[in-house]
């Protein structure tokens, strides 16, 4: 039975990995400007090998593709598809980590106010007519700042650590969401208000290389410790005293998890706007398919989240004449799939 189960998990992981690879590369071919698979392969390998050629001083082969094709693949589709994968993986990892930490499967990455803070930061940036970088940075800093504030409030509170953190997160989150409403109220209704509204709905429509680079560093910095410590996240689901008795420094572990999850949430929200649902539900899918052990759950959530957001973003850019905001689509696409999984039973039924 043991062998069957671990083999089953391994097989599921392979299927998921292959599905991600297929979806990822297929996304380059989809769009108004048709790209042949052969051209995609040649352009991507040419771009990937460029640094190696430069290092060895080799001459590049004469391109057999047009400049437009190269530009569509490398400058338009690559940043967008890669960013969808990064944001999907990041929000799922953050959601799964927060769920373990708060011992509650109904928790999403915005529980401590990261999304509300980032939303306010972006709205403020748009109101003050910041440039692209200013808006993104402001969103990121306010996202991190909101969680830091919630953490500080919970530290001075005399209540139970987990409960006070949730309450502080709700209070800080609602404070920033009220702040966003206030910014909307005073914003110019001709251009600023629509810009804020669209930003908050979440989209990758304007994704460029700079967004990818902006998000990638904090996401990597936050994800690596989470992956390294992922088996230890299991202990936080047990409760304070039980975890301590097993030799865990809960205060330190919790601080690391919050810091990392917040970093990747704020970075994702800063480049993509508010995309709800993923951080809450993708870890659930992963639990159904891979069980609750974070050793499997965290990588599985990330792979699943990346695949899901790439698919949904393809729908967002291809389904209608104008782009559909992701915040809306994630629920439209995800809810029926989730209901199907709930009805089917998933992993828990087999136990």
């Amino acid at each position: 039975m043991d062998l069957d189960r671990s083999r089953q998990y391994r097989r599921r992981f392979w299927i998921l990995g292959l599905a991600f690879a297929a979806v990822f590369f297929a996304s380059f071919l989809l769009g108004r400007y048709a790209v042949a698979p052969g051209t995609l392969f040649r352009v991507l390998s040419h771009a990937i090998l460029a640094p190696v050629r430069r290092l060895l001083g080799l001459e590049a082969a004469v391109p057999t593709w047009t400049g437009t094709e190269q530009s569509v693949i490398l400058n338009i589709r690559l940043p967008r598809v890669a960013l969808a994968a990064v944001v999907g993986a990041a929000l799922s990892a953050a959601g799964a980590s927060y769920q373990g930490m708060f011992r509650n499967p109904m928790v999403s990455p915005d529980i401590l106010g990261a999304s509300n803070g980032a939303g306010f930061g972006a709205a403020l940036g748009i109101l003050l007519s910041f440039g692209y970088f200013g808006i993104t940075l402001s969103a990121f800093l306010f996202g991190v700042g909101a969680v830091a504030l919630a953490w500080l409030v919970s530290r001075v509170s005399r209540m139970n650590a987990t409960l006070s953190m949730v309450l502080a997160g709700i209070v800080v989150g609602s404070l920033f969401s009220a702040g966003t409403s206030f910014v909307k109220l005073v914003a110019d209704t001709n251009d600023q208000l629509p810009a804020i509204t669209y930003w908050l709905m979440g989209s990758l429509a304007s994704a460029k290389k700079r967004d990818l680079l902006f998000a990638l560093i904090p996401v990597i910095v936050g994800t690596v410790p989470l992956l390294l410590l992922r088996w230890r996240i299991n202990f936080l689901t047990l409760g304070e005293e039980e975890a301590k008795s097993l030799g865990i420094n809960t205060t330190r572990l919790r601080l690391v998890i919050v810091a990392c999850a917040t970093l990747i949430t704020a970075a994702s929200v800063a480049v993509s706007g508010l995309i709800g649902w993923i951080g809450l539900v993708i870890p659930h899918f992963a639990r159904m398919l891979f069980g609750h052990d974070y050793k499997r759950l965290l990588p599985a959530s990330m792979l699943l989240g990346a695949t899901f957001l790439v698919v949904v973003d393809n729908i967002a850019r291809l389904a209608a004449a104008s782009e559909i905001p992701l915040g809306i689509l994630t629920s439209f696409v995800g809810a029926p799939v989730f209901v199907w999984l709930m009805v089917r039973g998933g992993a828990d039924r087999e136990h």
């Binding site: 509650n104 689901t237 639990r287 136990h351």
Partner: protein, 260 residues
């Protein structure tokens, strides 16, 4: 002595909870802590596990002062078995037991095949190896408690602290769990548990600590420490202790005689 509590006092801010507790448990014995709710049993256990620092006095486990140990070192001396409750996440029993191996692993290490083998052996020794891949939400409260016992065994600590180990169990499961615990004491484990049932103390404890108002009301072997008078004083209702002989063995049983 596995557990040495001497002149232990503890206060939450200005509110004293424990006042001058003296109690020892030798190697391979089990001890029951009795007393009404709020008497300080949990606080005593928290001091024992090193979660709280005593205001006065000291707590030594296997001769080591709990204040001087970090969490990982403490986990090698003393294990904690909480009350049985349905967990937030449906971990398999094997995954539950594997968590007991944390103090034997590196900081970034996660369970390997050898750890899995140790965990399965512990489950097997308690007779629940067949449930290893069952979710902890899908087994009985008694089986869940046995899994926690297996987790404490792989932790390699020889002193077990059990907070009302049979609180949510029916009497069959309760007896099964306590019999396993007694087997562990015969293997050299030292056990201290809290209970609301004097009969459990008579049946399964070598020593008893009866607490009232944060102080020791009586301590010693159950037959001498838990008299009708002590029990009446402890629970505030008239109680009697009568010897019962079953299959040639005589042991005391307590009964309540009704309140006012």
């Amino acid at each position: 002595m596995s557990i040495e509590i001497s002149a232990l006092s503890f206060a939450y801010g200005e509110t004293p909870v424990l006042r001058g507790i003296d109690f020892t448990v030798p190697d391979g014995e089990s001890a029951a802590v009795l007393g009404p709710n709020g008497v300080g049993k949990s606080t005593l256990f928290r001091c024992l596990l090193g979660f709280l620092d005593p205001s006065e006095g000291s707590v030594r486990v296997n001769g080591k002062d709990m204040r001087s140990l970090d969490r990982r070192a403490a986990a090698r001396e003393i294990a904690y078995i909480p009350q049985s409750c349905v967990p937030s996440f449906n971990y398999t029993l094997l995954e539950v037991v594997l968590m007991g191996l944390n103090n034997r692993m590196g900081l970034l290490e996660s369970p390997k095949a050898e750890h899995k083998k140790a965990a399965l052996e512990a489950l097997d020794s308690l007779g629940i190896a067949h449930l290893a891949y069952r979710g902890s939400g899908k087994v009985s409260g008694g089986e869940r408690q046995l899994a926690l016992l297996a987790r404490a065994m792989v932790q390699n600590a020889r002193v077990l602290v059990m907070d009302e180990p049979t609180a949510n169990l029916d009497c069959g499961n309760s007896a099964r769990v306590m019999e396993r615990v007694m087997n562990l004491t015969r293997e050299g484990y030292t056990v201290i548990f809290s209970t609301h049932d004097p009969n459990q103390a008579f049946r399964y404890a070598h020593r008893v600590l009866a607490m009232q108002g944060g102080k020791v009301l009586s301590a010693g072997p159950p037959e001498t420490a838990l008299t009708a008078r002590t029990l009446t004083q402890l629970y505030g209702v008239p109680m009697a202790v009568c010897p019962v002989t079953v299959e040639g063995r005589t042991f005391p049983v307590s009964v309540t005689l009704g309140g006012e």
